[in-house]
Structures are given as C-alpha cells and as structure tokens.
Symmetry: C2
Subunit: 224 residues, 2 copies
DNA sequence: GCATTTTATTGACATATATCAAAAAAAATC
DNA sequence: GATTTTTTTTGATATATGTCAATAAAATGC
C-alpha cells in the first residue's frame, strides 16, 4: 500500500461511497437483527433456553415513535414496556407549571412508566421520544403470561428490576451528596450519551439545577 | 363496675401487673409469630402455597442486632438479607470524612445492602441498627436455592424489587424538586416513623441538608 | 443522682444556586 | 438562504442553604 504525501492525492469519492455503503449495511443489519439485539440484552441477565427465547419474536412488536411523540402519558395507564432498539427518551412530569426531567433512556434498555405499568394505574409522568425511536413493545398482559409460563422470564423480570434498583441508588446518592458541578462532572464521566444527545435544558432539570446554573458550570469547566 | 371518684381510690398494683402481663404476652406472641409476621408480609405480594411457605421456617433464622451494631459493613460482602421483625436501621456511607445517611428501614421490610447482596461484591455502605433489632435472616445461597426451586419465590423477588423501585423513584423526585422545608414536610406526612424514631442529625443527611438547616426548618414550622 | 457525652438549637456570616432579564448562538422551518 | 423559534450564554440581584462557633437540651453511663 502506497503512502500518501498530501491530502490532495487521496481520492475521496470511492472511499466515501464505501463508507456510506457500510453504514447502510449496518442499519440494515440493525433492522433485521432487532430481535437478536434484544436477545443479546436478555442473555446478559439470563441465558434463555430455546423455548423461552422463541417468545421474543412472538410477543414483542416493532414500533416507531417519531421525535416528540409519547411512549407514556400522564393520566393514562401505561400498557406496554418498550425495549429501545434505536433512539432515546426523556421521562418528565409537570410540577407547579414547570417541567421536571427525571430520567433518560437509550438503546438497549427497557422503558416504561414503572408505577403505571407495574400497577396498571394512571401514569404520573410522561415519556417522550427525544430522537426518532424504534422499539420492541410488549403488552402488560403478554408479559404477565410470560411470567406465568416461564420461570426464566420471571427471573429476567427480577434481575432487570434489581439492576434498575442499583442504578436508582447511585443516582440518589449523587443527588444527595454532590454539588451541581460535581453532579455534572459525574454525568460527563458516567453517562456521556446524555450530554451528547440530549438538549442541555433537559439535562439541567435531570441534574436538579436550572439551565442557567448548568451553563455556568460548563463554562467554569471549559476554563479549568 | 363501680365508678371511681378520685385517683386515690384506685389500686394500681393489680392493674399494672395485668398490663405488664399483657405486654409480655404480646411480646411472646411477637416472638412466636415472627414467621407468621413474615408470612403476612410475603402474602401481600404472592399468596404462597403450602410447600413454598414451608421454606420460610426452614430457611429464615432469627437473629438479634443490638443498637449500634452492623447488619452490613463497608468493604465486606453482604451475605444475608434481613426481614425486620422489630427495630429500625439506617443505611449510610462515608463521603469526604462525613457520614451520609441515605435510607432507613423499619419493621416489615427487607433490609440488605442491595448492590453487595445481589452481586456478592464488597459493600460500599453500612447498615446500622438504630434500635435493638430482631430480624429473620436469609443467606444469599439459600435465597438462590429458593429462586431455583420455586417460581413463587422468584416472583416474590421480582415484586419486592418492583416495589423497591417505585419507592426509590418517589424519593428521587422529592430530592430533585422540593426545597428543604418541603422535603421535611413530606417526610412528616409520608414517613412520620422516621422523625419519631430516628435522631434528627441522621434525618437531616437523609433529607440532603445539614442538621442546622433542619433545625431551622422545624422551628419555622412550629411557628406557622 | 451527677457527670459526661451526644444531639439539637440559635446566631452571624459565607457560598451556592435560583430568578429575572437580555443577548447571543444554534436549530428548525419555510 | 432568510426567518422564526428554540436553546444557550451572560449579567445583576435575591434567596436558600452551608459553615463555623457557641449554647442549650437530651440521652447515656456510672
């Protein structure tokens, strides 16, 4: 392979078209392998045996949520849990006329209004697509059946909930003990996706501070 | 029955001894019905059938933790989960040389260092008895066996975790959106036990504020 | 019961963060 | 590409909460 002396010698045209081809293959793969993607995630908790794994394709339904649309709505019973294949969402509620974002979810996580879904009561929160989302959705009744029929699915539910509990504990500790600046730095280190893909005004309320304070914190960090 | 005119006419001796007898019977009942107490709690999640319920008395062991002793210790793997029959505990960790209390547990709840117990890794937190505690303890291995053998126990685990998740979400929202005063008032309304039975210096760090601020908040409320 | 330790309150002052207003920058829309 | 709209930044000021120090009250130990 010949070494290039200057950038001009390089012919970008064919190179770029190859890259684009690669990307479109990758997207195609993602599309076709949505169930595989979910399977990989589930296997990280429980190695499902063949029979139990077959249920994935039977019960989960592909859905799309365009940017701005709602996966859960205040006052309505959340009837589905969604596994995010692509995209991200914010969880928020309205408190004294202002919007408080309390959670984000990204690819390869289950997303639902926990209280509403698990107790089948009206939701107190909204879940909104921040990007166009592709998800695999599972009805409450279908999940209940899976829990009834397969001990493995029951276990999956338990382990996913344990994992959720651990995440919540971490977030709680951060909110309780860290200053605004420390919380932002922690987010930057532990959850860079949030800062990369979510508008800052939503991030600020997630951190429990105002947009102005977040902006100042960021400029302080830029300087130091 | 004769109506008493003055207090002096009343003979306290036999009366008091009856009361004490009653109390000791009550304690005896509690002692003997520890397993019944646990059964009632578990039944609120899943109606255990006889075989699965028999395991309660086989696997849970009565233990006492005197005030000040530890149910979990930083750096050590938490090998048991405890169901509190009587007493209460605080969860705390040490951050920059000071103690941060992040949870309390009382009668009729499961208590363990979640991350340490579920992943069998060293704990990052302490759990300390705030009162003398009587608990029913279950070893990690025994719980794992229950999960293996009985779908009902697996379900129990899931439902207890879901319940825990919902509690955590509430607490998170409170910390994120309420002022110190509002958080205190909310605690007063939703968890009066905490204020009644826990020293205020521990409550303050649970609320994410200093002892001084809590003291001021309380005096404000007393006035208004 | 008294002495000691721990816990709770109060005061003066410092600091972090919120609020309101405005400008600048970026993104969305046509 | 120009025009809205939304998001982010910056500034001045207000407020909530923290810090340090001193005292008061309560709990604990002997």
């Amino acid at each position: 392979m010949r070494v290039l002396r200057t950038l001009h010698e390089f012919d970008f045209q064919p190179f770029c078209s190859k890259i684009f081809l690669l990307i479109s293959y990758l997207n195609l793969w993602r599309q076709e392998n949505m169930y595989e993607q979910l399977r990989v995630y589930l296997d990280s908790f429980v190695k499902l045996d063949d029979e139990a794994a077959l249920e994935i394709e039977k019960k989960f339904v592909k859905k799309k949520f365009p940017k701005g649309s709602f996966l859960a709505h205040e006052g309505e019973i959340t009837r589905e849990v969604h596994f995010i294949i692509k995209g991200c969402c914010r969880f928020y509620h309205v408190k004294d006329g202002r919007t408080v974002t309390h959670w984000f979810s990204f690819e390869d996580t289950f997303t639902t209004s926990l209280r509403s879904f698990t107790t089948q009561t009206p939701s107190v929160e909204y879940i909104q697509a921040v990007e166009n989302c592709t998800v695999l959705s599972l009805q409450y009744e279908e999940l209940s059946k899976l829990y009834e029929q397969y001990q493995q699915w029951e276990r999956l539910g338990r382990l996913v909930m344990e994992d959720f509990g651990r995440q919540m504990l971490d977030r709680l500790t951060a909110l309780q003990t860290l200053t605004a600046k420390q919380r932002y730095i922690m987010l930057l280190q532990c959850e860079p996706r949030i800062i990369q893909r979510i508008p800052l005004n939503l991030v600020s309320s997630y951190l429990g501070i105002t947009g102005e304070t977040l902006s100042r914190v960021r400029s302080e960090i830029r300087i130091s």
